[in-house]
């Protein structure tokens, strides 16, 4: 193993982490403001991947990248309006149960429509052939994933930091009740936040689908490590989600070099260590969302 190989592997880790970050940010946004642990979030990723495949087959990849995320945003809005909003005042366990049921239903719906096999959702032709990036040849699609994720994270940061909507969302993560007292239409903001989380899952699905594969099971397979990202980062901390997502991505990628069979379990070992050492997560604050 030489330095070039190692840097390529680190780059792959960045790409794996990017997908985790996208899902985890949506989970944290939704949990932070709405207080709902959305077990159907992986299903939104899966829908993004399936829609991406369908649209790319019918037209081309560019149309898919532009059309699918807003479509998943709408799916999120519909889910929030027709199902999740009735659970804001129900116990947390009921919220988990209903979103888990929804995840299962969406997964089986896709299995019914498309079958259980992996659909051939390829990368666009221009991103298929590895290019020389100075340290070796690398598939450009993975670079696209890292770039898009970086842009999305930056966009989210700007949205939350510099807009009125962002101010309201951040206030909602601190104290949703107070927000209502101040005369802000909280339910409307809730719907938008859920949609925003879905949008991130949709982006991740449409760009990540060619890497992760397009099967009904992909939703849960992506959701579980993303949950760990959220817990490790500290629930409600967006920066924590980004940092821990990248740490887990690198850990998965580097474990391939050291001992390949450990790839699938390395994230759980890290999560166990963090839980024992810092139960609140890396950037979790005492008393916030516990």
């Amino acid at each position: 193993m030489n330095a070039a190989n190692l840097s390529l592997q680190l780059l792959t880790g960045l790409q794996i982490g990017a997908i985790y970050v996208m899902i985890a940010l949506g989970l944290t946004l939704i949990f932070g403001t709405l207080g709902v642990a959305n077990f159907a979030h992986g299903a939104l990723f899966m829908i993004g991947a399936y829609l991406g495949y369908v649209v790319a087959e019918a037209t081309n990849h560019w149309v898919a990248f532009i059309a699918v995320p807003p479509a998943v945003f709408l799916v999120g809005i519909v889910i929030e309006r027709t199902l999740v909003r009735f659970f804001y005042n129900r116990p947390a366990s009921d919220q988990i149960l209903v979103t888990f049921g929804l995840a299962l239903v969406l997964q089986e719906l896709m299995r019914w429509i498309f079958g259980g096999t992996n659909l051939p959702y390829g990368t666009p032709p221009w991103a298929t052939v590895p290019v020389d990036i100075g340290i070796g040849y690398y598939p450009p699609w993975r670079l696209v994933i890292v770039g898009v994720t970086a842009a999305a994270v930056l966009g989210l940061f700007l949205l939350l930091r510099y807009t009125r909507f962002g101010l309201v969302v951040r206030a909602g993560m601190r104290d949703p009740e107070m927000l209502g007292f101040l005369g802000i239409d909280v339910p409307k903001r809730f719907t938008l936040v859920f949609g925003l989380g879905a949008l991130f899952a949709g982006i991740a699905g449409v760009i990540g689908g060619p890497i992760t594969g397009v099967t009904p099971d992909i939703g849960m397979a992506v959701l579980v490590p993303s949950f760990l990202v959220v817990v490790i980062g500290g629930m409600g901390s967006l920066a924590g989600a980004v940092i821990s997502g990248l740490i887990l991505g690198e850990a998965v990628s580097l474990s391939v070099l050291i001992y390949p069979p450990s790839t699938q379990i390395i994230v759980y070992l890290i999560a166990a260590v963090v839980l024992l050492w810092r139960p609140r997560g890396l950037l979790g604050v005492k008393g916030v969302m516990e």
């Binding site: 116990p91 919220q95 049921g101 239903v105 699938q264 839980l275």
Partner: protein, 344 residues
Amino acid sequence: MITPFGARSRYREFWIMSGVAAVLAALPWLLTLIGGYTELATPILLWGMFALGFDILLGFTGLLSFGHAAFWGLGGYASGMILLRVSNDLLLAVAAGTVVGGAASALLGYLTLRRRGIYFSILTLAFAEMFYYAALAPLQDWTGGDNGLTGIPAAQLFGIAMKGWPIYAVIAAATFAGIYVARRIARSPYGLILRAIKANETRVASTGIHTRHYKFAAFVISGLYAGLAGALSAAYQTYVPTDALHWTTSGQLVMMAVIGGTGTLFGPMLGAGIVLYLQNVLSATIPQWLLVQGLIFMAFVVFLPGGVVEAGRRLARALSRGRKRQPPVPDAASVKGVGSVHAD
């Protein structure tokens, strides 16, 4: 208010357990009457036992675990490996499976009970997946990887080959014992504290009770039940699929418990029976059975979180109201927070 669970006369308990014995003996025959088949009785009892232990955790303590596939699956693998490599004695295999299930739940409980509420559910789901992936790749020389653990020889108990009716008798006896023990736990002061934790953990803690120890014990008890049921399942099927460790197994368990009605002990067992019966009868006509089951489950969560048991209670109340023409006094067990699924 929380009253001791079923704290009524000992006489009544004798009749209830007699009824349980009668149902266990008649179940294979009862199933043929409603379009099922006799062999279906065995998986119903196995999943029923699994769900029974789970109810001590979810229904009584209010902890929603999405990781019980780990204990069921590890119990199965342990039992299968004993039968395959050590001895074909059923008692040894089942004891090993139960101990392994309990030990795994102690490990997971130690980790996951550091956090509460949704974190607990998330963490149990995640750490149980760790065992699934561990069985799939790093340990595949032991577990058979993707193929699962195959070629398990038929177990023996006191020289009797454990298949068909003999193993049904053994599983029915284990279920009977499991129900008896679970009811004893539910009636004990310990069971009372579990239900108090479900109702208001902070308040229980403020009376000087170390709630995490109680929750840990409830978690391990449910893990022992899962290990026992999984171990018997491996001996019965002579096969352990990798799916035994997959999250779908945990999901099935949760759905069975909720559809039946949590916090009632018999409810989750009933749920296991209903789900397996419908699955076997309907999956021939409905290829997408899991989709339908998911919709049924969601409908219960949205409209009737108390499950079939709650539906039965409401029906009985409505009927008695129609007869007496006077508002009934709700009995203690149906007051919210005792028999219902609500947990925070």
